[in-house]
Symmetry: C2
Subunit: 248 residues, 2 copies
């Protein structure tokens, strides 16, 4: 009933009852834990925040930092085990072969509730928004750039924007919403290779443009050695436009 540290039985009943009711559970507690799955991890004793959601995902947050340090994905199985001196919280996922075991040595406070939330985040300012913007404002690339229908794109893999210049040369544009690193020129190169092959065009007759707010020095060199050009385009967050929520 009552241990030196805390009333284990009451908390175990509370946890099991809330799990059964598919409530969200948040616990402030002293605990230590191990993770085993895609990697192995351990965390020594300390006071932190445990979150169990109705979808059976598990999050462990330390009192600082943006990210959970230990976690299990939705669909895991949760068990609460009475170890007399402490509570053992086991979360296991047979399909993913993952396991977390948390030794809870003291519960500071616990909060449980059913939460109703059907809303989805609506985001604007993605790379897709940026390429849409370029498609609608081709003069950002150059006076004579004429984008063509984007429908064809998926046939040759995902290409942000492509079209023709006044000489009739094919132009492929790769967008990056943040500073472009060394992978960007190589990605552009791969798209152009694929396009050249599938259209039966000489690869040297396709022009490549990397559009981004900035570019690292290394990436600039690579781009140049591949014969492509950089075009500075402001990140889409500053292109004030609306985007509809994703329905899903």
């Amino acid at each position: 009933m009552d241990s030196d540290k805390f009333d284990i039985n009451w908390y175990i009943d509370k946890l099991n009852s809330s799990l059964k009711k598919k409530q969200a559970i948040v616990i402030f507690c002293e605990c230590s834990m191990i993770y085993s799955g895609r990697a192995e991890a351990s965390l020594e004793q300390g006071e932190r925040i445990l979150i169990l959601k109705p979808d059976r995902c598990l999050l462990v947050h330390q009192p600082y930092g943006n990210n959970s340090v230990i976690y299990m994905k939705p669909g895991s199985e949760v068990k609460v085990i009475d170890m007399k001196d402490y509570i053992l919280l086991k979360s296991s996922n047979m399909i993913l072969h993952e396991l977390v075991e948390i030794k809870i040595t003291k519960i500071i406070e616990i909060m449980t509730s059913h939460l109703n939330d059907a809303a989805k985040v609506c985001l604007f300012g993605t790379e897709k928004d940026m390429s849409d913007y370029i498609y609608d404002h081709p003069e950002l690339i150059s006076k004579d750039f004429k984008p063509v229908s984007r429908e064809e794109q998926t046939k040759y893999g995902y290409i942000d924007v492509f079209g023709y210049d006044k000489t009739g040369s094919l132009v492929v544009i790769e967008c990056k919403r943040t500073k472009a690193g060394p992978s960007a020129p190589q990605q552009l190169r791969r798209y152009i290779e694929r396009l050249a092959k599938s259209k039966g065009i000489n690869i040297n007759n396709i022009k490549g443009i990397l559009a981004a707010p900035s570019i690292t020095q290394n990436a600039r060199h690579m781009l140049k050695s591949l014969g492509y050009k950089f075009k500075k385009i402001e990140p889409p967050a500053y292109m004030k436009r609306k985007k509809n929520p994703k329905v899903n």
Copy 2:
């Protein structure tokens, strides 16, 4: 004092007091919010979990899913504003030019506490562990592979393992702890280019090996066309070894 919905004043006092005491705060509440910064985002009304940590980061969790949908990084400034009908929670970061505004229309429950936690996660099974393992067990690559001191590596950028075969040819190994995709062969290529240049060696005299548990078909083709080889190495999680906690 008492609105139709909830006792705003009591909650505002509680929040301000806890913020002042640098406690961790978790709130179950009905809310809607917007984010503005590197992108723009909004989330319509719903019941969710708000977390405010002592380091002044902010997390918003919906009752499903592993990740926070709206967040602010540590060091942001938090303000609690009484709007009579609702509480406005503002988190702003001047340096990053980011802002979150949360309209809290109902508080279901709130939990605050000081949390003591100095522990750090100890992780094993990273790519670094994998390359260490290969360095210590070069026979995994081939009978005649001789790894050399890893001290030199940083001089030419980060190369997982490199050494010589019995003919004296330089061998560069790139490790991936999960299935290798198309970026892996290109990364290997970049390392070898850099190494060839800095050592004044003909690039064709350097052998490249991609070590990973598996590889996609595309990546295999790219690797072959670059003249490099794939070596199947099990992911490091299954190499049962110990790793010391990182001190930091």
